[in-house]
Symmetry: C2
Subunit: 323 residues, 2 copies
Amino acid sequence: MSKRVTVNEAAAMLTAADRVLILIHQFPDGDTIGSGFALCHALQSLGKTARVACHDAIPEKYRYMVSAVPQPAFEPAFICAVDVADSKLLGESLQPYADTVDLCIDHHGSHREFERHLLLDASMGANAMIMLQVIEAMGAKIDQTIADCLYTGIATDTGCFKYSNTTPLTHRMAAQLMEAGAQAEPINRAMFDIKSRARMHLEKLALQAISFYDNDRCAVMCVTTDMIRESGAEENDMEGLSPLTRQIEGVWVGVMLREKTDGDYKVSVRTGAHADAAAICGLLGGGGHPRAAGCTLSGSVEEVIAQLRDAVHRAVPRITEVT
Amino acid sequence: MSKRVTVNEAAAMLTAADRVLILIHQFPDGDTIGSGFALCHALQSLGKTARVACHDAIPEKYRYMVSAVPQPAFEPAFICAVDVADSKLLGESLQPYADTVDLCIDHHGSHREFERHLLLDASMGANAMIMLQVIEAMGAKIDQTIADCLYTGIATDTGCFKYSNTTPLTHRMAAQLMEAGAQAEPINRAMFDIKSRARMHLEKLALQAISFYDNDRCAVMCVTTDMIRESGAEENDMEGLSPLTRQIEGVWVGVMLREKTDGDYKVSVRTGAHADAAAICGLLGGGGHPRAAGCTLSGSVEEVIAQLRDAVHRAVPRITEVT
């Protein structure tokens, strides 16, 4: 059982600490990277030794957050996880730290406790919003490096202020970070607008391969390893593909199945107000947020779709009603 | 020559007026509709008679702004245009009013004066931002109807806070409007997320028909009447198609040519930081904003592309440089 702490208590723990190792989640996204590197830079600006560890390499498009923050080698004396909802999500190479995390700062309602102290605020659309409060409470200056990192976290986790997790506070924090120097437009362009030609090609192929179920309220898009090969798409070309299904008029549950090289399928579920994505994925051993969740399934594509549809029917019984 | 007025002067003119006819631009978008109906509702809430006139019908997706605001018939005593950059943009049926506009409230840097009094603020990403200031200065309450209208204007004209015209003030106004009751998530979902199956189909066809010029820095997507017919797309399925070209990695100038039923082409130009869309379209008899502008061209598709490329080369000479 973790001890719950407040923003001020978490800030006090961090300002009392040194040689801080910051753990972010595997398959890192803008929010975990932004939260982690903002904290790392804030600690360094207060004269402390800190670095960020991640099971995976930081994708190219996020490197602007990394390049400004030195990553010294040292023996950790304090371990802080950020945006990590479950110790499994640290990934294999960081599992040795799973039972020794001093503090976790997270915003997932589905958080599974694994740390000594937990700062959890599921009302925050992005973990970076909690991190802004913590860094301010630590007395560190919100400089441009921190502003770029935290703006990125907020923008990416709220779909650029589009999703239901956006609140007036989200907008006020964005305003504050822009005034602190966050380069909102180039960040948003890099995060949301720019698509490689390979990605454009993959999108065309994937759009041609959407199946509809349950009165067209469930849309399943299957992205195969063949499609990825044909398009020339790389890992970072895959981002933002999963919401496409949910964007189709009348769809309650949008699903992207991504064939992995080991034959398993990575399942991304996106829902509107009529369905709970975390409930669907929870039935399949995964989890996430009410509107965006995920899991991994094994079997042929037909078997995977059957498992998935069964979970959808159990979690969203109304989806099969004819109106 | 128009007389320039301040927010307070414009508000004073409106509170002194009655029987106000509000003119919005043809092919109405979220910002002109939101600004117009917010002003109409504010005037009505102050006990005045007011209605909105538009050359075109209000598209279905924007109807939620219209339904809450009664539109009585009356002989106008004061005429106010909103978000109208040029009297030509009133459209044919509103041309009789072009020389009798008492006040225009606009945010286009390319504004061509036609009105008696002009409130112009090109620093505002959306006309709805100016309208919020005017309505507050009029002493009207920002209720949910006004909040929904103005939030829609701000969100649609800033690409949901993504474009370079988004400022800290834009975010603070969004926060204020959400607190006043703006239903941000369903609005954003309707404006940005939901695509009909016909639109998905059209997008697939259009993506297959992109040509690249000038070291792939210029991308031209031609949407023909045949494609529109094959996909079953309707007018409101066309929105948001033009930015697709600019989203391709390395593209400075993204162009959508839309074949009209009379054989002309409607040209939409979208640019990044390297090129000025208004300058390109200005050379072709059109206009707009630095990152988004438009014009109409006649001729075969090859002739239209030749005219366009010539304007691009004149407005953006660096586009042909090999680096």
